[in-house]
Subunit: 68 residues, 6 copies
């Protein structure tokens, strides 16, 4: 089975912390990765994003799924 | 300024593809990273997630922001 | 009031589990439904998605809202 | 491979519409389904959600992934 | 119909820009608003968030729905 | 550092409620704001969205980050 999500990072679980309903899972990513970000053209222009720029990919942790 | 998002990956932009409204930005992440996933306790139990397991962190690309 | 969300499924609540801040609500959907997925053109090509294919729509439960 | 997403609906693709960067995929879901929604305890109380209530699960289409 | 989303801001549409599949809608919000953010306890501690702090609520525009 | 998220609202924290893993943060937004919503062209047509319409921007609270 392949999934449409463009960002799949293999790694090892470092920690699992359980709450009543939710859990916080820390995964150590093993190797360099290519991240795909779908953002507005407006943001590309406002931040003047170009190949070669040093940037950060920012992801809220509630958006991260785990596959095993 | 610090942001509450637990997943911030520094890297270099490899490619920017512009659509009419949206854009697809590819970022090459430079180094090993710790990813935080907030998932249900139910998923932790169904997948039997434990420290040391090899897993994948899966993220839909529309959830990835870019900071510069 | 109509909402821009393209995926609205009517059903009956089967269970509500309360945590300290979050809750897990299980809803039994009553009938066949048409799901709309907005994904990258890149994913459509990589997965070779075509009308008639059997696929799965995958949704993280933190993305599901409840309207009553 | 199993994924932590609690909502996986099997169905047939009815239509694929390509944009410059994004695509809109319509999937006909075949059978009754149980949907999991993670919402705030505050919303459960404000909407007075209880087992047996008729409600709608509402999902923005940019949150739906496709697995094949 | 009431929805579980805790952030509903009434305003006037200023602009609608159509792409092939997606659209960018600008809404002018009329009045002071209370925003609810569900974040990790870890972030609250790392950013030392306390009542009275001046902060920003940050929301990716693909997460914003429109109701009319 | 600038972020691609098009919706950044400055305000004061009114309340922080901690759960085991998650927290609920209420932020009082100080001034009128322009909100950007990225939705399908299909929704723009179905809701007949035009400049000048009174609408609501609806955002699930798990999508809101906090920056300080």
């Amino acid at each position: 089975m392949e999934i449409s999500a463009r960002n799949v990072f293999e790694g090892k679980i470092e920690n699992v912390e359980l709450g009543a309903v939710m859990a916080n899972v820390k995964i150590k990513i093993e190797s360099p990765q290519l991240v795909t970000a779908i953002i507005t053209k407006e943001s590309v222009e406002k931040l003047n994003l170009k190949p070669g720029n040093t940037v950060s990919a920012v992801i809220k942790s509630t958006e991260v799924m785990v596959a095993k």
